[in-house]
Assembly symmetry: C2
Homo-oligomer: 373 residues x 2
Amino acid sequence: VRITDLETPFVAIERRRVLNNIDRMQAAAAAAGRTLRPHAKTHKSPLIARWQITRGAIGVCCAKLGEAEVFAEAGVADIRLPYPLQPSNAGRLTALMDKARVSFIVDHPAVARGWSDAMVRAGRSVEVLVKVDVGFHRCGVDAEDPGAVEFIRSVAESPGLKLAGLLSHAGHSYGAASEEALAQTACDEASTLLGLADRCRTAGVEIPEISVGTTPNARFSVRHRGVTEMRPGAYVYGDRTQVGLGAAALDDCALTVIATVVSRPAPDRVILDCGSKTLSSDAARGFRAAPGYGAIFRDLEATDLDSSLTIERLSEEHATVRATGPCSLRPGERVRVLPNHCCVVSNLVDEVHLVDGLEVLQAMPVAARGRIT
Amino acid sequence: VRITDLETPFVAIERRRVLNNIDRMQAAAAAAGRTLRPHAKTHKSPLIARWQITRGAIGVCCAKLGEAEVFAEAGVADIRLPYPLQPSNAGRLTALMDKARVSFIVDHPAVARGWSDAMVRAGRSVEVLVKVDVGFHRCGVDAEDPGAVEFIRSVAESPGLKLAGLLSHAGHSYGAASEEALAQTACDEASTLLGLADRCRTAGVEIPEISVGTTPNARFSVRHRGVTEMRPGAYVYGDRTQVGLGAAALDDCALTVIATVVSRPAPDRVILDCGSKTLSSDAARGFRAAPGYGAIFRDLEATDLDSSLTIERLSEEHATVRATGPCSLRPGERVRVLPNHCCVVSNLVDEVHLVDGLEVLQAMPVAARGRIT
């Protein structure tokens, strides 16, 4: 089967690029003396998780229990949820613990207490990491808060909880305005975590692991000693945002959407059959990112983007493309679109297709798609 | 089962509001002497389609053949695809025509020719409407183009094609800056279509139907005579954008997301478990729309939005909420979120739950979710 044989739009995953991306990040983690625990939200696929683990990853991360259940069922033995699970999930969590080693994050005293109570009642003990806010200002304890060490100590001393360490996600690295600013997020992240870990250790609280996330600053993060684990996700596929942040080359990007021209209503307007139901409405981020809802390769064999074509607008099932130069695209012709954000594209489709150039190797279910609970 | 019994996040659909919305739009269409053919992309559910048809709708619209196949399989007898299907889909189209009356749009000479050839080869004849651009500048022929009437005539005279009429989608109504501007989109739409239809009729080309779409300008569109059909979709659920455009009252909105507070990392910050995988990244539109990725009802019984809570940012599984006033929300508490765009929320989840207030009536599969081809 060739990629011209499939109905469009569909999501193509270039197998060799995925394997290269896995090998490259694994080598970077190994060189830095860290374990690699990729976030599986990018691919949501047990097959890709197996590739990652076979090549050296210690396990995977999942955001929600529903995702973790899919990977545990598929045989992944070590799953971390960098998500503030609630004690009301205790039943599902303990069932998951029967299938895999599981850990998750806590960042709130009442929630930690609730988990301790729930685990004691269940006669179980679960590994938790304390989430530290390193500048993204989403979840996490403020490392500067005078009560931070006491909170971490209380977690370490709570029956039913085993403190595995500290964990961060430098999500603000996506907003970095320059290469230097991006490097700085990795520096700040490491110093925040290591400083807090030092204060904990001085206070007699053992901090076995220090775990950092995000693809964008991974290349800078590996310079910092003392971090024990990294959890990038998007590196496995790459996308326009990662290219815009210098975290992937265009030739590293493994996930593209194959689309068909369905209308040419004006010389400067091309309508494609991939809308926000395929590409999502996520904007491109990164200090080098250009506008638009995806970037276009003019034909299926093109290796460079066509900068004269901009996806100005998405409807659910249409992309409205502005052509700033002469454009000969006709209805029925196919183009390749590099999405802004690969993770959300995976989540929109029930299956993707592994390809080798123009050849389709196999359909691959996005097995953990849509697991929002 | 109560809505407090389900794991969050989940999508709740208030049954009575759906029925009221259906009845109100049906009455408006009937009063204007138009048929109502709701766009099913909003709900993607055969059950809701049945409610619409039982209450007077002539059939439904679908965007893609994959959606139409689901509704035809479920017994919907008349399906229109206001989408520029390509002749390469001829096999699926003729199979669909064996199950339901089907029509779709054309806006390009080569595509119309391709369809004519394909239908002649198949020994079939299919109804098509010519898509007219009424200002959205997505698909559609330019009504002012001197060749427009000739194109429409050529479609009418093509073997294998039956010209059912003209069709438009005033998608630019979503960008209207005022009530007056919104009303003007309906006025312009009707005059563009009717003017072109007149010129066609003068040229001897019969134009049986004149079909308009979109929920936002529907209340103004019904004033214009000569239009025969309307195809709103979002009216059935309503959302923050429709409220922002005056097309729905807050109390009409039937689709909400029930979410749980999972962290309270700072007094002015609340983290919810519904991210872009549930709410999508779609912005709110409408001249009355406030910023944010959704609006919040402070608890499950609240009937008014809490304007002190703004969803500033979405990650895939988190909503980061800014509280501008005192906020007592604690981890584990539930809130209700009114999304910016109901159609894309339906597409993100495998099922929604029909509710009556706090009582869950039934789970309802989003049967046509993710049908992008």
